[in-house]
Symmetry: C2
Subunit: 377 residues, 2 copies
Amino acid sequence: MSWELTARDLPDLARGATLLGTGGGGDPYIGRRLVEQVLGDRTITMLDPDDLADDLFVVPTAQMGAPTVMVEKIPAGTEPLLALRTLERHLGRTADATMPIECGGINSMIPLVVAAETGLPVVDADGMGRAFPELSMETFAVYGVHGSPLALAGERGEQVVIDTGDDDRQMEWLARAVTIRLGGVGHIAEYAMTGADVRRTAVPRTVSMALDLGRAIRLAREEKRSPFDAIADTLARTPYSHVRELFVGKVRDVERRTTDGFAQGSARIVPLSSGDGSSQDERVCELEFQNENVVARVDGRTVALVPDLVCVLEAETAEPITTEGLRYGQRVRVLGISTPAMMRTPAALDAFGPQAFGLTEEFVPVEELALQDAALP
Amino acid sequence: MSWELTARDLPDLARGATLLGTGGGGDPYIGRRLVEQVLGDRTITMLDPDDLADDLFVVPTAQMGAPTVMVEKIPAGTEPLLALRTLERHLGRTADATMPIECGGINSMIPLVVAAETGLPVVDADGMGRAFPELSMETFAVYGVHGSPLALAGERGEQVVIDTGDDDRQMEWLARAVTIRLGGVGHIAEYAMTGADVRRTAVPRTVSMALDLGRAIRLAREEKRSPFDAIADTLARTPYSHVRELFVGKVRDVERRTTDGFAQGSARIVPLSSGDGSSQDERVCELEFQNENVVARVDGRTVALVPDLVCVLEAETAEPITTEGLRYGQRVRVLGISTPAMMRTPAALDAFGPQAFGLTEEFVPVEELALQDAALP
């Protein structure tokens, strides 16, 4: 069933999208302000994927670039629509709706900017079910809808169309080169598809899930309940139903670099009771990220890994923290969250499993890693 | 008047185009073989710019990339036509003719490949009047025709359209990024224009000039005359009328690197009588190149600089030598050749004068540098 999104929903949506961003995806705050400016008192119609006409023409819109750059390079707000119009012109067909390619981070907001500017509805679904660093890491592509042709718009009105046929990795490779030369951020329209394609290839109802998560955290805080229990209760009603607390501690080290248009690095978290780090037998949680958190290890043992979600949240308020937001001494809880079955098939793992991030280990679901852990002596 | 080009003309055209390539522009040999394969016994109609209908639609075609890569990465031959078709589709208009953007080097041949494949005529003119390393270094752009939108095709069928409005440098910047990620070579269609635009902005009859130069060198060799006299006699009938021998000697050092998609470096030439280079007071000619030779200095004094032509030729046969072809010990003559007035206006020098290549010195025509030289004590 379709529903209406208002500007009042945006802070909750941003909070939930940051959680689903698993450390990356860009800060939705900037996108949220863009939506608020344009939307005013109007509403955005959100379409349930089950209700879409088979031949509805859906053109997803998004931002691409390193989140570390996105924080400093604020879009004018007109670029995503320019990307949409460029792709429409190229395809000779007008969009009936837009959709996120990514429900985590700023890309939860970019389609809403387009919707507020045009009155187009937004499909409540996405192609990542979280955030991922590359345009080819999409359930759309895994299940047969290709990203190409892609349209890319820059802040000075640059318009680029990239057509690589069914080679989504080459599309990503070329679009990334253009984005880097645009200063690190570009706005895109890609993965144009029909309503029937959406039902077959998208992760459904991820925008409403982000909104529910953000709202549940806020309400729990207001009512002095545990926001972490609220997260678990909310996710229990979705295909992201397993939640595990992986570690509680404080941030000891963060190492970050922006390389080839990506934010890469690692973080170490130590117990709250830890001293100056000189103890050799101290427990430690290590996170690796490539824009998003890709793996969490505790004392060297993997406890959650991509495509499952590794989320760092403020230890008391459950405010999600991005990798750019990680600071020495922060008290945090690290959660592992299971992803839906369609994101764990062999084809899906080929596109965005551990090997796609250069890890050598095989994917093991976070709920199985927890069982292995419990079975240890 | 229009004229017919045959496969038998191609070796002469390639020789002349290499001379006009001033060390860069890519080796026309590869392009020549592509034309021969497709053309067979047919001919290509070459259109004189003065005869073009005002509304004739001309779409230039070319290759872009570092010449050092072009030598090793041989195109399939279908890429330039794919670039043309991509731009036609984008513009919704079919080309009546193609044209070189650059008469020096391999880009003298690329439009002929397209013509042989399609039967389209080729306009006998170009936008560089020689070879230059960047797509924005065009008399077309200097006199008001912009390169954008540009279509770019890769060897695996990739199609990219780049529209930067009237910003030709941004077009070059983005197209270069894509070309680098395609492996160093891309094929392009750009600077689409009308017949009236060609007459206003192109350097006229540069294809026939290249052909005349190549033929004159060959005939002089066959008839045991000086090919250097033949070059001077041929150029005397064109707007490139001043030719000066800058140095005769042998190649001592060549330093080359391929950086950011360009072949950059320098060469040192010493007198034929020179020994092992240990003499401190020995005369020396130094060349700097960025794909093309940009400046020649003799004993530290500038004797020719861009946009005038600095050409290195084999000392006896006058075979032009590209920067990739420079070898230790080669006996060479270095010529300085004047460029037409339209390539030396302030606007033209802004686009492709010495400062555009990072040199600090002002442009001085090669014929004036010769007079200054003669006036020395």
